[in-house]
């Protein structure tokens, strides 16, 4: 009997260990698959595809306080039924998505972020239960462009009116310029209140949400604010993109210096040649220390400078910066 008990114990413990390992293995495979989807989404811009997320709990994390020159501390964590987590590092890829997801149908969308040169692809995860309402009553250019962009990707954006009915089980995101719309959330029924987010666009690309105020740079980043869990997650993912901006800016400015040097050498060698000046006055970005408002001010100033220089050099038939 004693020997039988030992044998039984051996098989039971082996079975349990095997089950736990199999669960971790399955979670690892799923995270790898998701990572591959995100990687391919990140290299092919202006695309969208539909995926079904695993049944297990999936968490996207991003900590803006833990950003270094190598990105921000950010990962995708998939939990096994035992509560064990398998994570994948996404510290350099900007992903705008809800924080928690589970077995949902999700549209992955990728947009190129240019400011003014190409910086990075921005990846968006849009669960099917999210419904975007756009208040285009006042013919605002930003809102019309956002509407067009979503339509191009076959993502339904609904017109917002004051008497709109929100279906059950959806998470409504209302984008407007009218602060009065905020009263919708307070007047909505108790069951809907937590499921309505109102985004009010203010002057100079400032946007206020239920989780705070932030800034956006253009339409792709506005979509980032709308689809992120909260402003902290948005700003953290934007920091990843700005860290990449610093790298690209450094390389492009060095390229311009190299072009200038080589053209001057050729001019002095041949006694004639292209008269390119490559004059600009850019500012360095301290992406890690600065907040997004300061970063936007610097990026806007640099954008104007680079655009002006590009136009000047194009007029002179010189190689352009970007």
């Amino acid at each position: 009997m004693f020997v039988g008990a030992i044998i039984l114990f051996f098989f039971v413990s082996f079975g349990l260990k095997y089950k736990a390992n199999a669960e971790v293995g399955l979670a690892l495979t799923t995270v790898n698959q998701l990572d591959r989807v995100l990687t391919s989404a990140s290299v092919s811009s202006q695309t969208s595809t539909k995926i079904t997320l695993p049944k297990q709990k999936l968490i996207f994390s991003c900590d803006a306080e833990a950003c270094t020159s190598q990105g921000c501390s950010s990962s995708i964590i998939l939990f096994t039924p035992n509560g064990e987590g398998v994570s994948r590092d996404v510290s350099m890829l900007p992903i705008f998505s809800p924080k928690n997801m589970k077995g949902e149908e999700v549209t992955t969308m990728t947009l190129l972020w240019k400011y003014p040169f190409t910086i990075s692809n921005l990846v968006y995860l849009i669960p099917d239960n999210i419904r975007i309402y756009i208040d285009i009553n006042d013919n605002d250019e930003t809102l019309i462009d956002l509407n067009k962009l979503l339509r191009n990707f076959n993502i339904s954006a609904y017109p917002y009116t004051s008497n709109v009915q929100f279906p059950d089980g959806i998470k409504a995101k209302i984008i407007t310029k009218d602060p009065e719309v905020l009263s919708v959330t307070s007047s909505a029924s108790q069951t809907l209140r937590g499921n309505i987010d109102v985004f009010v666009i203010k002057s100079d690309r400032e946007i206020s949400t239920s989780t705070g105020s932030t800034v956006f740079f253009d339409i792709p980043t506005l979509l980032g604010v709308i689809l992120s869990e909260n402003t902290d997650m948005y700003e953290c993912n934007m920091k990843k993109a700005v860290i990449k901006y610093e790298n690209v800016q450094q390389i492009y400015e060095r390229r311009v210096a190299e072009l200038d040097h080589e053209l001057s050498r050729l001019r002095s060698e041949r006694g004639r040649g292209l008269q390119c000046t490559y004059q600009y006055d850019s500012l360095p970005i301290q992406s890690i220390q600065n907040n997004l408002v300061d970063i936007k001010t610097t990026l806007d100033s640099n954008k104007r400078e680079y655009e002006r220089m590009n136009e000047n050099e194009l007029r002179r038939s010189c190689p352009v910066m970007y």
Binding site: V43, M92, K114, S120, I243, Q250, Y252, L263, V320
Partner: protein, 164 residues
């Protein structure tokens, strides 16, 4: 007494045979698992190398652009030169090298440009250390390299070495 001893002996022998068979089964299973795992790891390494190649090829840092629009299958010669100058290989404190090396660990990416019969080598990023690596996956991708000063396209290739 003798019968009982005989029965105990039988049980012990049965158990012994059972455990020997179990042990053999386990050894066979572990061997089979480790072989399939090794194969899986090899496949994973190859997929990883292809992933790196796809990502590097679409880097805006080196891709040809005109007024902000990307030109596919083309690398800009002066972006490659600038990238290569800024990233000092084997300098662990270099910001750009740190960024790209942590994006693609154990990877060395080099661009070769064939210009008027000469081969120019531009190491982009990575650490050239092979001491602790067990193997090497190499992938070379041919590409056009645009020279914006002379407005010509040259032949080049990007070599991706992944240390596993």
């Amino acid at each position: 007494m003798k019968k009982a001893q005989l029965r105990i002996g039988e049980t012990i022998i049965t158990l012994l045979i059972f455990f020997i068979l179990l042990g053999m089964g386990l050894i066979f299973y572990v061997k089979f698992k480790s072989v399939s795992l090794e194969q899986k790891l090899q496949d994973q390494d190859q997929i990883n190398t292809l992933n790196i190649a796809a990502q590097v090829k679409f880097f805006p840092e080196i891709q040809c652009t005109f007024l902000g629009t990307e030109i596919s299958d083309c690398l800009d010669k002066y972006k490659i030169i600038a990238f290569s100058q800024l990233v000092e290989l084997n300098d662990p404190n270099n910001r750009l090298n740190q960024y790209y090396s942590s994006l693609f660990p154990n990877t060395l990416v080099t661009v070769y440009v064939i210009s008027s019969g000469d081969e120019q080598v531009y190491p982009l990023f990575g650490r050239n250390t092979t001491a602790e690596s067990k193997g090497l996956d190499i992938l070379s991708i041919p590409t056009a390299v645009y020279d914006p000063i002379n407005d010509i396209y040259e032949f080049g290739y990007m070599k991706i070495e992944v240390f596993v």
